[in-house]
Amino acid sequence: MNNIFFRNAFLFVGLVFLQILIFNNINLFGYVNPYPYLAFVLLFPYRKERSAILILSFLLGLTLDFFTDSGGVHAASTLFIAYFRLYFVRIILRKSEFEYGALQLNTISIDKILMYFFVLIFIHHFLMFSLEFFDINSFFEILKRTVLSTIFTFLVTTFGYYILVSKKN
């Protein structure tokens, strides 16, 4: 219990630091940034009890909103992913509700995991940019940024996941 608590607290703080100090300042092509802080939501233990992940995801998003003056854009989209990730576990990872408590990401085949990461990152980024632009006329700009940032986040996240996280277990 304690071990899991400290691991996730460390992940929360570490990801916030990395996001603010490094990943928010990359600006590839002038405007593309990755958002690997989302890994917190993807990796958080899969349990039946879900209050913790909902509250923590909200706080994670809000922390980034405070730092980047983005209103509640990160909070809203991160919380959305935190709530709906179970549906994608069912659809993409094909795990039923009884197995959540024992769900370990590293026991699942790579292609399914990558698909799962990609879909969640895409939805999160699409929501985030839609709320940021808040303008239907900017649809193509939103889509362009979503696609570019999704690829970037996906690469950073999977790279980080396979180097740092999955080997430890």
């Binding site: 809000l62 209103g71 900017s138």
Partner: protein, 273 residues
């Protein structure tokens, strides 16, 4: 009653999700409303101190650039002084006014957090209420406009960047009295758009755009950008694109402008409304 409790318990995650999501969306809507102070902003003390520390690391890398900017500004000021002497020699009466009545008062501040790649950009500076910064003060560089102060805490302040949907800056063309508005379409941080320019203004590609005298935020005549392209349709200007003089991706020290007459002017103007 029992049923309500059962309903709440059964749907507790959904209800918690909805509650938090609504809070987050309220913050989002608030951020899209013009001129409203936001609860979620980076002028908060903890965040400002954090950015101050991280900025210290970056400082050494930008010393050369800051030096060059200072040298350039010194040259400009020297040139102005030289011109002023000439002016005193020819028209003496006009000078006394400016000597005894200084309209603007500048405060130097350092940008500790810059953003330019988002749709709505804000900057954080290391000065706040304690140093005389107040909401709605203009922020400039020696060679261009940066934005307007939005939220202020005792030690820090956030600036609504020129690169923001809520930023509307009154501008004019150099050596003419026509005015328009400078806005940003969210695409490139090197370009902004001009709106509401009258047909009579006779704009040309290459014209210099400067701050207009209609705004109390900025002194008149600070260069903002150069017209890059424009289209005329049905005798109206369309798509006037301005290349900004300020490199918004690379900001160091800025000047916050305190217009000493601002309160008086605004009070007068309110009487007409």
């Amino acid at each position: 009653m029992q049923q309500i409790i059962n309903f709440v318990i059964r749907n507790r995650y959904l209800l918690l999700f909805l509650l938090l999501e609504i809070i987050a969306l309220i913050f989002v809507f608030q951020s899209h409303t013009y001129h409203k102070s936001k609860f979620v902003n980076s002028s908060k003390n903890v965040i400002g101190s954090f950015y101050t520390q991280s900025d210290k690391l970056k400082n050494y890398l930008s010393l050369a650039k800051e030096n060059k900017l200072l040298a350039e500004e010194n040259t400009n000021l020297r040139n102005l002084l030289f011109k002023k002497n000439l002016a005193i020699d020819s028209v003496i009466h006009k000078v006394t006014d400016t000597v005894y009545h200084q309209e603007y008062h500048y405060i130097t501040a350092k940008i500790i957090n810059n953003s330019y790649a988002k749709r709505n950009n804000y900057l954080t500076i290391n000065k706040g209420l304690k140093h005389g910064i107040q909401k709605d003060m203009g922020v400039i560089l020696p060679n261009g406009v940066v934005g307007v102060v939005q939220d202020v805490s005792p030690n820090f302040a956030t600036i609504l960047s020129l690169l923001n949907e809520n930023s509307k800056i009154n501008v004019g063309v150099k050596n003419s009295n026509h005015f328009g508005t400078l806005a940003w379409d969210g695409k490139s941080y090197e370009e902004a758009q001009l709106l509401d320019f009258p047909r009579r203004a006779a704009l040309k590609i290459g014209d210099t755009i400067v701050t207009g005298g209609k705004s109390v935020l900025f002194p008149e005549g600070i260069p903002v950008g150069v017209i890059k392209s424009l289209k005329l349709r049905n005798n109206y200007y369309e798509n006037i694109v301005v290349t900004l003089l300020t490199d918004m991706s690379n900001l160091g020290y800025v000047y916050v402008i305190n217009n000493i007459d601002k309160k008086e002017i605004e009070k007068l103007e309110k009487n007409h409304e």
